[in-house]
Symmetry: C2
DNA sequence: TCTTGGCCTTGATGCAAATCAAAATCCGAA
DNA sequence: TTCGGATTTTGATTTGCATCAAGGCCAAGA
């Protein structure tokens, strides 16, 4: 059960002669929703720690995960003032709340403001990579690429191996990669049988052979 | 055969006390290339008329069309100073060349500068729509959605019908939608047999029943 | 007009992943 | 620790799209 948060009262603005917007750091627990598609965008969120999930849903219920957000990412860039995805917390996160109004008002200064354009352009490039993935890769290549990406973003070195925690459910992985949970599961099993990865419980994967995984990613 | 253009000499900058970058309008013919993946980004291009194609190619040769650019679009947003797609002209275009340097230097002013952030955010939203298309839709839904989109961007009203010209080859449509040319062709034929569209030559489609096409788009 | 070559369409077949269906496992609550 | 529901895995079957293959169309040039 997801609960939507209201940060309206969280920011405590002053209005000096030269407006300088302030940021607030908030911790948000697993399972909470930051915003929904169509909401007025009050804040952008810079992730200090934790994992977020951005998704969109077609009228008939088909779901696409747009991105998983890790530490360093900024989520919630609005279009014409509105959010265009849903955003939920998968792993309790520390977030820097950046007032969305800094985007509209050229006179308002904010430490994060100059980063935003660069971040937007990087996000565009990242989404193009995701296109290649969705349109051109096989199920095995998709899953291998996904594991490599998550490992780069939040993997823990463990001697020769890398431990990757997957805070998202198989459904989320499937909806991110454009395939079914059964196919996700089967491909994980095949990588496990090939000794490329080991699976510990359902939410932890250890990369045993990074080179083989890279090959599998195409 | 594509030819790359060099606009280095096109812009004629002065360096006044308060730098104000100038734009130049250029006409570029069908078949020319504006830039390639990896090129240093000297300009962004605002499309006044015509059609552009942005693409990326995997090492093994598989191609993904990232977007088709129509009048009003801005293409060539760089990442860390470099272009991350190839860009070719499909239909002779009038382009406003916007110097990329205005992105880096906060002191430089330019009429288009304030638009760029808004445009970047809209592009992100547009790419998310494309995700839904690639990952969730069937071949028939993809092609119907594609025709509707092109019709919105560059369709001509013809009484009750809408005439849509397709300046791109079947290969481009296929590489944009993540399918093969054979499947594109088959789906076009089915829409034609269902009297939803009429096909005139290979590059012109007339939408006969907009509602049915919308249904087919899912 | 005939030829050539590049697209595009249509047809036949194969395969990767979806769907349908159980069984196994995980994990939080009592 | 056991229980029970949710999630994940595995198996059997179907299917939509890719692949392989052939033929048609159209424009440019001989």
């Amino acid at each position: 059960m997801y609960v939507t948060l209201d940060f309206e009262s969280a920011a405590d603005f002053h209005t000096p002669a030269v407006p300088v917007a302030k940021s607030v750091i908030k911790q948000v627990a697993n399972g909470q929703s930051l915003f929904f598609e169509g909401d007025t965008a009050n804040y952008l969120y810079k992730i200090k720690s934790g994992v977020l999930r951005q998704s969109r849903v077609l009228p008939d219920g088909r779901t696409q995960i747009i991105s998983f957000g890790f530490a360093g990412d900024i989520v919630g860039l609005p279009v014409k003032g509105y959010h265009h995805t849903n955003c939920d917390v998968l792993e309790t996160a520390e977030l820097e709340l950046i007032p969305a109004k800094i985007l509209n008002d050229p006179a308002t200064s904010h430490p994060a403001k100059s980063d935003l354009m660069a971040y937007a352009m990087e996000e565009i490039a990242g989404m193009q990579d995701h296109f290649m993935m969705l349109a051109l890769k096989t199920a095995k290549e998709k899953l291998a690429s996904f594991l490599l990406t998550v490992s780069q973003r939040s993997g823990r070195e463990l001697g020769n191996y890398t431990e990757v925690s997957l805070p998202m459910a198989r459904t989320d992985i499937a909806d991110f990669l454009g395939m079914t949970i059964e196919t996700v599961s089967r491909q994980l099993s095949e990588l496990r049988k090939a000794k490329i990865i080991a699976v510990d419980g359902t939410r932890t994967v250890v990369i045993l052979d990074h080179d083989m995984l890279q090959d599998a990613a195409g």
